[in-house]
């Protein structure tokens, strides 16, 4: 009989990201105002708040201003206000500016930021408000009482790689809560099962994803303008792979350089890390990095599906916020403000639920109504068909987006809703063009994956069962090797998956310790046999300002 620690809370947010933290802060305020008291906790799998947070990012301060009406923008932990912005089409050697930046894609009035820094700042505000943030605890299972969710179970700690308990083994704890708010971020592991179990994606477009890979570059003093923003299309992705690059100027002469790659490409050989290295071969990019040193690397997936990929947002005892729900504006490439707002709206529903002591679905549904009548909906509605247009390549996508600007978001000018299919289904079998045969890593500006991973400061307790569950590993050496050439070794930006010789054969080696928790494998595996589950609490990357 395992003795688990049992903790009783009123509200539990899973994931200490901007959605949960904004939600928790707002909730505490609302409760205080209504004279109520409730215990609010946040569960975070990283060892510290912000360690697993990664984004570009350019933040629309709207939600922060609502959350902190008494603060001025100077108080927020931003790098700089966007001072100049550029949109380029890149060829292998040239950069062609777009003639103008459509106002809805402009970043005017927004701020270059590090999500890690922002999350840490929100975390401190949260703790000051009396919210307990439990770092180093991964939520591994939802606890049910019949159909109602009544809490979250955390992962066991102290199990060795063979599955046996170590001396300091501790079973996971059961946290009971009247309402569980899932703010796990992109492709949350509890969320994935939650959506499936309750059929919350019924009648929705499947979610489509992208992966963002980035490097931070420390440049010589005075060479980086904080607030500089550039986005590019074209090289290196070309017209058949969705995505583009971003270059943001941060404080202290740091270039924030990254690439977003849609996880719905056809060529199984596409490797987002390698694409980032190719990007750096462009003469303009290369010249900007001259004399600099790469100091950090990271990757994270992001939900690109938009409005029609957002699931039903609540069941009895649980709600979805932030990226877990898919609140991301793919056209503006912004989601942090939407995540925060969703957390705040959830807090409003929860406050009422606490007053009425009613946490069943009919009550929590109120959150979805709030979202539908908020600026989240206003914003996402206009770009509801954005990503789908790119199913027809870059020109198609841009055309669709352009027309969308004029028609308030209609697909191809007339369709209310464009459907889409899941990205991994698009991957085509058979050998494809090698996009990287001319790519050489010089160790100075272009790095191999293993070297970049080192700069993600990622670490895991070595002696544990790998947290990447491949449900039918035989497929790797029989079907997949023939059909797709084991794309896992390409789509994983952290060198987790490797096919290694095994006598006369090969086998799949999982270097789980490199995992940066981006969830790309769970998303992109063509056979959908990879299940990402949280490793032991505290493990994973240690990102500071990513």
């Amino acid at each position: 009989m395992i003795e688990r620690e049992i903790l009783e809370l009123d509200v539990l947010f899973v994931g200490a990201g901007p959605a949960s933290l904004a939600g928790a802060i707002h909730l505490q305020r609302l409760l205080r105002k209504s004279g109520q008291d409730a215990s609010v906790g946040v569960l975070e799998k990283a060892g510290e708040v912000g360690a697993h947070s990664l984004s570009g990012a350019i933040v629309d301060p709207r939600a922060l201003k609502e959350l902190f009406p008494d603060k001025s923008v100077q108080d927020f932990p931003f790098e700089a206000e966007v001072s100049e912005e550029h949109l380029y089409y890149l060829t292998e050697s040239r950069k062609i500016p777009f003639p103008f930046v459509p106002p809805s894609m402009s970043h005017h009035g927004c701020y270059v930021a590090s999500l890690g820094k922002l999350t840490r700042w929100l975390g401190e505000a949260c703790e000051k408000d009396g919210v307990d943030i439990f770092c180093g605890f991964a939520g591994t299972e939802l606890i049910y009482d019949g159909d109602q969710i009544i809490g979250v179970r955390t992962g066991d700690r102290g199990i060795d790689k063979k599955g046996t308990k170590k001396q300091h083994f501790e079973p996971g704890a059961d946290i009971h809560a009247k309402v569980v708010v899932l703010g796990e971020g992109t492709r949350g592991s509890l969320t994935k099962n939650f959506l499936h179990k309750h059929s919350l994606m019924k009648e929705r477009n499947p979610q489509v994803w992208a992966v963002g890979v980035k490097e931070l570059w420390q440049m010589p003093a005075g060479t980086v303008q904080p607030g500089f923003v550039a986005h590019t299309m074209g090289f290196p992705l070309g017209h058949d792979v969705f995505g583009g690059a971003f270059l943001y100027g941060m404080k202290n002469d740091i270039w924030d350089l990254g690439l977003v790659v849609g996880l719905d490409y056809k060529n199984p050989g596409v490797d987002s890390h390698h694409e980032l290295q190719r990007l750096k071969t462009h003469p303009w990019i290369r010249s900007l990095l001259e004399g600099g040193k790469m100091v950090a690397y990271g990757a994270k997936s992001l939900p690109e599906g938009g409005w029609y990929s957002i699931p039903k947002l609540s069941v009895s005892g649980a709600m979805l916020i932030g990226d877990s729900a898919g609140f991301m504006n793919g056209q503006r490439l912004k989601g942090i403000h939407l995540a925060m707002k969703s957390g705040m709206l959830a807090a409003e529903t929860i406050t009422e639920a606490i007053t009425e002591n009613n946490f069943i679905e009919t009550k929590l549904r109120d959150y979805e109504d709030r979202v539908k009548s908020s600026w989240i909906r206003d914003e996402l509605w206009k770009v509801r068909n954005f990503h789908q247009g790119f199913d027809h390549g870059l020109i198609g996508g841009l055309t669709n987006a352009g027309i969308g600007l004029l028609t308030g978001g209609l697909g191809w000018g007339f369709k209310e809703r464009l459907t889409s299919i899941a990205g991994h289904i698009r991957m085509e079998k058979g050998m494809k063009k090698d996009r990287y045969k001319d790519l050489q890593f010089d160790g100075k500006y272009l790095f191999d994956k293993v070297t970049d991973v080192y700069h993600s400061a990622t670490a895991h307790e070595e002696d544990q069962v790998p947290h990447l569950h491949v449900n039918e590993p035989d497929i790797c050496i029989t079907k997949c090797v023939e059909e797709y050439g084991n794309p896992c070794k390409n789509f994983c930006p952290a060198d987790v998956y490797e096919m290694v010789p095994d006598g006369d054969n090969q086998r799949l080696q999982i270097n789980f310790s490199n995992c940066v928790h981006c969830k790309t494998c769970d998303i992109m595996d063509p056979y959908q046999i990879i299940d990402w589950v949280p490793p032991e609490g505290g493990d994973g990357p240690v990102w500071i300002n990513l």
């Binding site: 620690e5 903790l7 060892g47 510290e48 360690a51 307990d132 439990f134 770092c135 180093g136 605890f137 955390t154 700690r157 102290g158 170590k166 001396q167 300091h168 501790e170 704890a173 946290i175 931070l216 420390q218 202290n252 040193k293 100091v295 950090a296 080192y454 700069h455 400061a457 990622t458 670490a459 609490g537 240690v542 500071i544 300002n545």
Partner: protein, 253 residues
């Protein structure tokens, strides 16, 4: 029994290091900080001893800027009773004598029965603080304890000697002991521990400025100014050359 655990906050070993502009240390802005892993073993041992005795208190002592409160809280979440934060915001201190004197000033009136520390810090690695403090406070000392047998009546530790030798030592109270890593398996903090840590006391005192006795002038990447000799020849010549290197240049035998 009143037990102090000296805990240092150090840069995490996974952080890629960047030397500061004046070359005297590494940049802290983009580094992650953790409890010095050897101190974690000392903390665990202190908690085990307190649990074995059934009463007493475990007090965490840490010197540094505000961020060290995080490791103090971590220790409190694991079961320590209270903390003493010696506030020091200056450049990282690299002189063990100065550090020890500052710690002594903060704790001498506490009259600890036992002071436990990790064998050395993962940053400067001078490996002296516990013993220096023991001397300043007139305590008995021992280092590299790989096992403890401590209760209200006795202080007995198994010291690790080199080459697989060990030795039990009985010490007079009070005693300052440094703990060998691997002595135990440090526990995880529980949820309730984390919640309870917020309510435990962390007393903040100012650091005591002592005259600096040694100085770390600069840090630098170890020079690989070596010239690499390439040996790429037939099997026999290769083996002969290696034997020669081992014998004459590395002097293995």
């Amino acid at each position: 029994m009143k037990i102090a655990v000296l805990v240092k906050q150090v840069i995490g070993s996974e952080s890629a290091l960047e030397i500061s502009d004046d070359n005297t240390w590494v940049k802290e802005e983009n580094a992650s900080f953790v409890m010095n892993p050897p101190d974690n073993y000392a903390l665990e041992e202190a908690l085990i001893i307190k649990e074995k005795i059934g009463e007493g208190e475990v007090v965490i002592v840490s010197q540094g800027p505000d961020r060290v409160q995080k490791v103090i809280r971590e220790a409190l979440a694991k079961g320590a009773d209270r903390g003493i934060h010696i506030e020091e915001n200056g450049h990282v201190e690299t002189d063990p004598l100065s550090i020890a004197k500052s710690l002594v000033a903060a704790i001498k009136d506490e009259n600890f029965d036992l002071i436990l520390s990790g064998l050395q810090s993962d940053d400067t690695g001078m490996g002296q603080t516990g013993v220096l403090i023991g001397e300043f406070l007139g305590m008995s000392t021992a280092t590299l304890a790989i096992e403890t047998d401590i209760d209200k009546e006795k202080i007995r530790v198994k010291r690790e000697l080199e080459s697989g030798w060990f030795q039990w030592v009985t010490l007079g109270a009070p005693s300052s002991i440094s703990i060998q890593s691997g002595i135990n398996q440090p526990r995880y903090p529980s949820l309730k521990g984390i919640m309870g840590a917020k309510k435990k006391e962390i007393k903040v005192v100012q650091s005591h400025k002592a005259e600096k006795k040694q100085s770390m002038e600069k840090v630098f990447v170890p020079q690989t100014s070596k010239e690499t000799e390439i040996i790429d020849t037939d099997l026999n010549s290769t083996v002969d050359r290696i034997v020669e290197i081992l014998k004459l240049e590395v002097k293995v035998f």
